[in-house]
Each structure stands twice: as structure tokens, then as C-alpha cells.
Subunit: 330 residues, 2 copies
């Protein structure tokens, strides 16, 4: 009954920052958001409404009382007395450096200062920082209030305590922190997304498939596999009793085939952008973005609930989704 | 009450051919399998047992009475009087050509002769065939009895009637036929899988992530998204009210970043293969392949059931999963 109240500061309240705000608030944290956008309150409230409709439906147990989400007028007001600061400002290094310098002035040394960046490595962010040891990358996935994965990447100057604190705290929010072993451009997951995105652009450009056909190729096939078992375990099963080495020996030669389009970067001409936008309208234009968000979240809740009673229930994995209530640590 | 009984011939009864046999049999077809492997019966029965445990659990309605699955001693015995022939022999063109020549001798002209190949284009398969117009690619995804997607690719000589018949018939099996507009190496989905696989090999080779960490990066994050909404629709939502063109303008420049590893093909040395096999053992070795299959299928059933009541229930899509009982066509 005595849940400690923490304060999280969210710097940048867009789709990602707003998702973080909702994730913290629904887990009982007080949240202060700094974002100069005059529309910030409306956008935040919409994300909070989505999160309230979705996250509790995944869980059997109840969440703690929701924390308050305030919009404040300065970085100082946001980060003062915060135990966690999450930076989600635009992906421009000079802006981020300025924000981190300001954050360092008003936070205590044991506050974790995390960046949502996918484009920069933590050591890039730490350059010139007066307190780089508290700075770390915590890269989430949209919708942040619902998807468990968060990539945690330490920079050269990040203290081991910061990494440990980040991992424990993200776990307490019901997330799955994946501590990345080495700094690398785009961390891990986005490298895969980038590879698929590049290839998808070629397929549209060359008229092989429309955006809808590509989406169908994903969601009726390997997307269903990957929601519950990753690449390697799926292939382990496909390899059957002969094992993983046998599977690779079979599959390996394919890498030499002339799938050259996979390698090149397609030119994003105005024409290609327009083709994609038009096809996307034809595919999804009957629904507003808000409707699509609700469809997505309803689907995700259904999938996550199903996995809690199968994959998780089979005892193969830590039950991330109840961790925040039972104090488990991954 | 008067369900017509069809006969399907399965040439090659491994993981893919066996999955096809199960898909047809559970939908009431008589199935004849030709495979010289002396273990074929045992392997087929294991796949059938998996399919019986999984496919009915996805559906609210009941399937027709299961068809018989026989193993026969020749291609001739398998394909005679068949309405559908599915070739899933090893990926070697000269073997496939021989098999298709044999099939053509004993099938009627209106029989669809489909290949499960991912490695060859249908026009390659048609070279030298006495009856190329009935030949088409129908590339499924493992487990074939459960995953809906099947890529349908016509070759230069494939008749429009064959394509139409293939599409209707696959739909009647509860599948989602995706007719690919142009012949292209690896069709569509495998090009994405290849891109991700290559990048994953680099990450393991460079010690950035283990096989388990890569699998976690997929299944706790974008894998959950892709089970229910593909690449383009997901990004449409992420782009928010500003729309798809805005999203691409933001994301586009990333394609120029130096993610060079994405482009190269890693050398599959013995050492790398061993590293992957060892990491995969550490990750999944506590479970037999049979157990992993059951975990996978139980998860897939849970996800597909969940999606039937959300995504499908929202009226956004044809209800593929009941199509075989209601005669719908996609």
C-alpha cells in the first residue's frame, strides 16, 4: 500500500515523449513535461487516453493510482527533483547538447538522464557534458506505453550504476530493457527496420508491390512469427532435428544470390514519395490516424494478453507485464 | 452437407510439404504424398498432430471431416486425378525440371501445379516444360498449416486461369494468397527476411548482440507491431496527422547514414556458424525442437484468435480464417 512516488521529467512531448509520459504516469509516477509546442497539452491528453484504454487491459493485476502529468514552462521546472529524465527532442545533436547541459544544472547526480535517440550513440551525446556519467540511451518503440522493448546503451562515460539503475527502473515500468553490448549506429532493432524499409522502397519504386501488398506480406506471414519468437529461434525450429548449424549451411548460400536491390539505397525522389503517399492513402485512408491508433492498440492488447497466457504462461520467460507490481527484475 | 472431395498431391514431404499436406487434409482434401525418405510417414504424422492441435483452435466454426493422407510410391500415383499438385522438393533446378516433366505426364490440363520454391522464379521452372501454362509458384510460410500468407507468382507462360484458380483454391484453404505483380528473385517476403538475416549475422559476428538478444529485440518490439499492421501502415500512424509524405521526409535522410554493415555480405566462416550454433543452444537448448514447435503454435493460435476478435472484428479485413466454410473470396 505504500508505493513510493517518483518524479519523471519528459523533455519533448511528441509521439515518443508523450508515450513515455503515459508509461510513467500509468505506473504511478508524477510526470512533468517540457515542450514548447502550444498543442502539447492536447496531444499529450490524446496519448494518455490511448494508454488508459490499452495498458490496463493487458494486465490481470491493477496498476497503481495514476500519477499527475503536468506541462511546465522550462527544463529547470521539469527536471528539478526528478529521479528520471527522458529526452525526446528532435534528432539534432546541437539541440540535444544544449538540453543536456541545461538538465545537468538542475538534476542530482543520481538522476538517470536518458535519451530516446535512435540516430546518435550515447558517447556522441556525452561530448561536452558536465556530467556524462548519468547520461544513457533508452530507446523505446512506438507506442511506448504498450510495447515492452527499450534499448539501453551506455556511452564511454556512463557509470555502471547508471546502467544498473536504468535497467531496474525500466523493468519496474513493465518494460523489457535490452542492454546493448556495444555502441553502434541505430542500436539494434532500427538496423533491421532500416534494412526492411530500404528494400520496401525498391519494391514500390519498381512496381513489384504496393504498400498494402507489402504490409500483407509482413502481417500474414513472418510478422506473426516474430511477435512471439525471433529470427534465430524460428530458424532453429525450421532447421528441425538437424540443428542450427545445418540450417545455416542450407540458408547460407542464398546470401550470395544477386539480390542486389537489397544493397543499394533508392533515391527518394518526389515521385517516389508521392507514389508511396498515394498508395498509403488507398490502403489506409478510410481510417483517421486516431482510428488506426485504436485498431493498432486493440490488436496489441489482444496479442500481448494472448502471449501472457501462452508463451509467458509456459514459464519460458520472465513475466515482464506483471513485474511492476511484483518487483521482479529481469 | 455435400462438401466436394478433392485430391491434392504433395511432392516432397519435408517441413514445407508436410505442412501443405496437413493444410489440405484438415480442410477435407484427400492427400497423396510422394517422398522417398523412409522416415516420411513418421515426420508427416508429427506435423499432422501439430496441425490438429492448432488449426481448429483458431477457428470458431468447425472444419470439415479430415481427409486421408496417404504415402504413395511414385509421382504418378500421387498426381493422378489430383486437382492440385504442390512441389516442395530440394531447391535444385534440374531436380525440379525432372519432377515437373513427370507431373505433366499424369495430370489433367486443369490441374494447378504449384511450386513452394523461394529460390526460383516461375519462368525458370517452366523452361522445357511440356505444359507450362498450369505451372505457378505458391510460396508458403512455416508452419504452413497455420500461417495464412502464400505468395502466388505467375511465370511468363502461366495461364490467367491457373492464377485465378490458384487464388480461389488457396483462399478456400483459409490462406491469404498474395499475387505478386512481377517475377523477382525470392519474391517479396523472403527479400525482407534476407535483409534482416544478413544484418543479424553481422551483429553476432561483431559481438554487438547474441542470438537471444537479437530475438528479444524483435519479439518485444517491432515483431509485435508487424503481427497486426505492416511497415507502411505502422509508419503512417507514427507520422501522425502530418501524413505519410511528412514521415518519409523525416525518415529519408537516415538512408544516407553510414550503416555500411547492412550492405555487405558477411563471410559465413566455420567460426561464425559455430558461434551462432552455440548461442542458439544457450538460448533455446533447454527445449527440444518438438517443444519449441508446440510453444510456437500455441502462441500463434493465441495471436490469431486475438486478431480475429479485434482486427478482423473491426471489419477492416476479410475474415480469411472462416473463408473455407463460407465460400468467401479475397
Amino acid at each position: 500500500m505504500t508505493i513510493p512516488i517518483h518524479k519523471a521529467a519528459i523533455i519533448g512531448g511528441g509521439v515518443i515523449g508523450g508515450g513515455w509520459a503515459a508509461r510513467f504516469a500509468l505506473n504511478g509516477w508524477q510526470v512533468a513535461v517540457y515542450d514548447p509546442d502550444p498543442e502539447a497539452r492536447r496531444k499529450l491528453d490524446e496519448i494518455l487516453a490511448n494508454a488508459r484504454a490499452a495498458l490496463p487491459a493487458v494486465l490481470d493485476s491493477t496498476l497503481p493510482p495514476e500519477g499527475e502529468v503536468q506541462i511546465v514552462e522550462s527544463v529547470e521546472a521539469a527536471v528539478t527533483e526528478a529521479a528520471w529524465v527522458q529526452e525526446s527532442v528532435p534528432e539534432r545533436l546541437e539541440i540535444k547538447h544544449k538540453v543536456f547541459a541545461e538538465i545537468a544544472r538542475f538534476t542530482s547526480p543520481d538522476c538517470v538522464v536518458a535519451s530516446s535517440t535512435s540516430g546518435y550513440k550515447p558517447t556522441d551525446l556525452q561530448a561536452g557534458s558536465p556530467r556524462p556519467e548519468q547520461l544513457i540511451v533508452a530507446h523505446p518503440f512506438n507506442p511506448v506505453y504498450l510495447l515492452p522493448l527499450v534499448e539501453v546503451v551506455a556511452g564511454e562515460a556512463t557509470s555502471p550504476e547508471t546502467t544498473e539503475r536504468a535497467k531496474a527502473l525500466l523493468t519496474s515500468l513493465g518494460m523489457k530493457p535490452l542492454v546493448v553490448r556495444k555502441e553502434i549506429d541505430a542500436h539494434i532493432a532500427d538496423r533491421f527496420l532500416e534494412a526492411v524499409w530500404r528494400e520496401a522502397l525498391w519494391l514500390v519504386k519498381d512496381g513489384v508491390a504496393t504498400t498494402e501488398e507489402i504490409d500483407d506480406a509482413i502481417r500474414y506471414g513472418f510478422g506473426l512469427r516474430w511477435a512471439q519468437m525471433g529470427l534465430f529461434e524460428t530458424y532453429r525450429v525450421a532447421g528441425g532435428e538437424a540443428g542450427m548449424a545445418h540450417f545455416i549451411a542450407q540458408f547460407g548460400p542464398c546470401l550470395q544470390w544477386p539480390w542486389t536491390k537489397l544493397m543499394d539505397v533508392p533515391e527518394l525522389t518526389d515521385e517516389l514519395v508521392q507514389t508511396i503517399a498515394d498508395q498509403s492513402d488507398a490502403q489506409s485512408g478510410a481510417h483517421s490516424i486516431r482510428e488506426l491508433e485504436r485498431i493498432r492498440d486493440t490488436n496489441l492488447v489482444g496479442i500481448l494478453r494472448a502471449l501472457r497466457t501462452t508463451n509467458y504462461g509456459a514459464g519460458r520467460d520472465l513475466n515482464t507485464w506483471d513485474a511492476q507490481l511484483e518487483g521482479d527484475n529481469t
